[in-house]
Subunit: 200 residues, 2 copies
Amino acid sequence: MNLPDSIKKLVEKLSELPSIGPRQATRLVFYLISRGQDEIRSLANGIKLLEEVKLCSHCFFIHQNAGNVCSICDDKNRNQKLIAIIEKETDLISIENTRKFNGRYFVLGLIPKTGILEGWQKLRLQNLKSFIQKNLEEQADEIILAFNPTSNGDFNASLLIKELSPITKKITRLGRGLPTGGEIEFADDETLGEALVKRS
Amino acid sequence: MNLPDSIKKLVEKLSELPSIGPRQATRLVFYLISRGQDEIRSLANGIKLLEEVKLCSHCFFIHQNAGNVCSICDDKNRNQKLIAIIEKETDLISIENTRKFNGRYFVLGLIPKTGILEGWQKLRLQNLKSFIQKNLEEQADEIILAFNPTSNGDFNASLLIKELSPITKKITRLGRGLPTGGEIEFADDETLGEALVKRS
């Protein structure tokens, strides 16, 4: 049926967002209309504010500081020579929330399934290399490839190891084993196997 | 961890939308930032345009016509005396897409689980009654209670039948039976039972 243009276009636009299909997009639009003009305006303005978010010139995480560097990179108490490379900003938040990491981050962005980095990802890596060469006397102490513990993550890590080994003394990945609070009975074979191999 | 205020507030706001949790909301925000300022502005503007969407004064479906009435209610070729009451706007779209319905609609909104209508829903029903009394000589020919074929939908229909019977000659619901293209083998007992009772 023929819906007003403004609605059709917004449904299309929302459907392009990750994990939102055309059906949910339509529901969202009708929901917003039902909430009234104040809600609509407030959401539109909230989204518009994202225009002011900047990317850190060192790690590419978001920030709204006066300078070009995020609060984590700017924190002199953090170990500059320990760098966790992450794919998603939300992974950074998860790691930060553990309060167990005192290094810095580097947001590489989602690595394509082919394993071939996009142009902008290569530029970011280049940026990381120059940073390490200039500011860390040629080498970082440790780079953690904090990718998902999946075969895809393993593949991506193997590709990056060659590229990064000249600029760091050590390359590590996140530990593998039983998730805390889990039960051996319900662990899959792969996980239990890794837990045996990596026992400590 | 401490994210910029603009991001925290937008995540909260997006989490209030139906079937979007805080995790997806966070992912959406980072996705938008990664798409850049043009995309952000375009989505914000698209949402802002919803402010101009109006509700039809007869059926409460959305429209952007010059007057107060939607294109369906305004269509003189449609049967004014045949009214389908629906809960969700998306249900109207689904019915309209069948091209098998030539009557009008009435958007009641989602009926609360308690079966007790909200104040605004009572006002809408009142509006429907006055419309029928004034424009259809006291009675509609038929009102279809196009609710979901669930026990909840049955319950809601039973509550409305009493209220609507004075203003319509006939009250019906959508047909029950096997979905077209389905297989008897995979039909659940309830559906197959209904298909037997409603055989034709």
